[in-house]
Symmetry: D2
Subunit: 147 residues, 4 copies
């Protein structure tokens, strides 16, 4: 299991848990993690490449893999870390982690592969080079792109 | 429609919206308001009367009334205001408002009537007087209780 | 409290509960009721007045009032009853009930006042007369409209 | 990508979509899939091994992997297929698919690794042999278990 402990996180934000996120065992529900990851995925894109991206494109999930390390209880102090680790031609790869900001425990690690989707033309497209550039700058990592 | 503009709010907290809260028209979904109100209801009770209340009691919703004044969009800056305005024998009345903290617009006003429920004995009970006392102190309002 | 026991229900559909609908006390969460009511509100409109309504109009919630009579547990057999009881000029009034189809218990009664919204012109409008007509036919009640 | 087309599905149930499941692009939200999968995971266990399992044990998610093949729209006719394909010592592996029952399209395939958790002793345990036996009978597959 890869915890991505070596990554430098340029995007971390606190997540506000809701009372309804918790199941009958007092644990945060499995599905809620993805609703929270999704929210910070959107924040990441707003900050890294700007809002105007979403006037023309959408982001579509192709694959995700998540490891649950230990349960989250309401109202734990949780933050979400988000990074892009690879920019392919049409697809790119994002890592997100839920961490307890008090204990520093990693609660969940999620790797997702997403695709840029042209809203008007209704099919997946390569992410325009200028947006890839902004992501590489945001991550301070010029090597994110496939050659 | 009562906007409760004359209330002094002793409990106000920012609400974090989620991308999944928004429907296909870009508006925050009707049902999500109550999930958010619920979360801050719990925070209110933790702060006003303490966590130990929930070891023995639960709060059960009996009635709610909500007025939607204008839509919330993701990611508007929203805060939730919470106050108790009446402590009856078994039931009590809470007002919650969703406000836009930037524009000061009131988005939604919700009045709910709730009942204290004894988890072990499995029926509704009068809220113990010490908890009523703490709520009156929290609200700086000794007149909340029925005589 | 009005249980609307005298209404003839022309729209009733079973609701599928989700494991995540349940809170830590095993009760269906307050907010989930509205998510379920919303779903059958849409089904009602599809069946009573047809899909094409939603190409031009949206339905916006103005006010709702709900009475919770007894808790729902997962996986209770629940159905939702939906009826329109009044068609005003711009607003109309809908009643929805969650009932246990095995025990016939009424779990929750919700009265909501909604407004027709013109998506293109971006403001509330009177519901076109032909749609009002279809609703009156669906409800077999020619007296729903304001004179 | 493994679509598990060779599996014989002994558990398939229709899923009821909710209006709030849909995002602003009209697509079912990524996170909602897991809330629906979770619901049918519970139904599977009720049917395959019985309710009494949950008096003593809980099921905890350790890892999941999902492939999204094409979007789901409200109100598509969706069913969820569920099977266990491996019973290890403490962990076991479940496959779930969301399919469109009209077009037969596979919408999403999810593989999850879960662990049996003893609620009273508060740690993961091996699933008792009698429950493994019932699952093998339910799946008509005596070879599910590790030797």
């Amino acid at each position: 299991m890869n915890l991505y402990d070596d990554l430098v996180w340029h995007h971390q934000m606190p997540a506000q848990l809701r009372f309804s996120d918790v199941d009958r065992f007092g644990h945060m529900n499995n599905a809620v993690y993805f609703s929270i990851f999704d929210t910070f995925k959107m924040q990441y894109f707003r900050e890294a490449i700007g809002n105007e991206f979403f006037h023309k494109y959408a982001i579509v999930m192709a694959n995700l893999q998540a490891d649950y390390l230990s349960p989250i209880y309401f109202p734990d102090e949780i933050a979400i870390q988000t990074a892009i680790i690879h920019l392919g031609n049409k697809s790119f790869t994002m890592i997100q982690r839920a961490i307890n900001t008090r204990t520093k425990d990693i609660k969940c690690v999620c790797k997702s592969i997403m695709v840029t989707y042209d809203i008007n033309e209704n099919h997946s497209v390569a992410m325009p080079q200028e947006y890839k550039q902004r992501i590489m700058e945001f991550e301070s990592n010029p090597g994110l792109c496939d050659k």
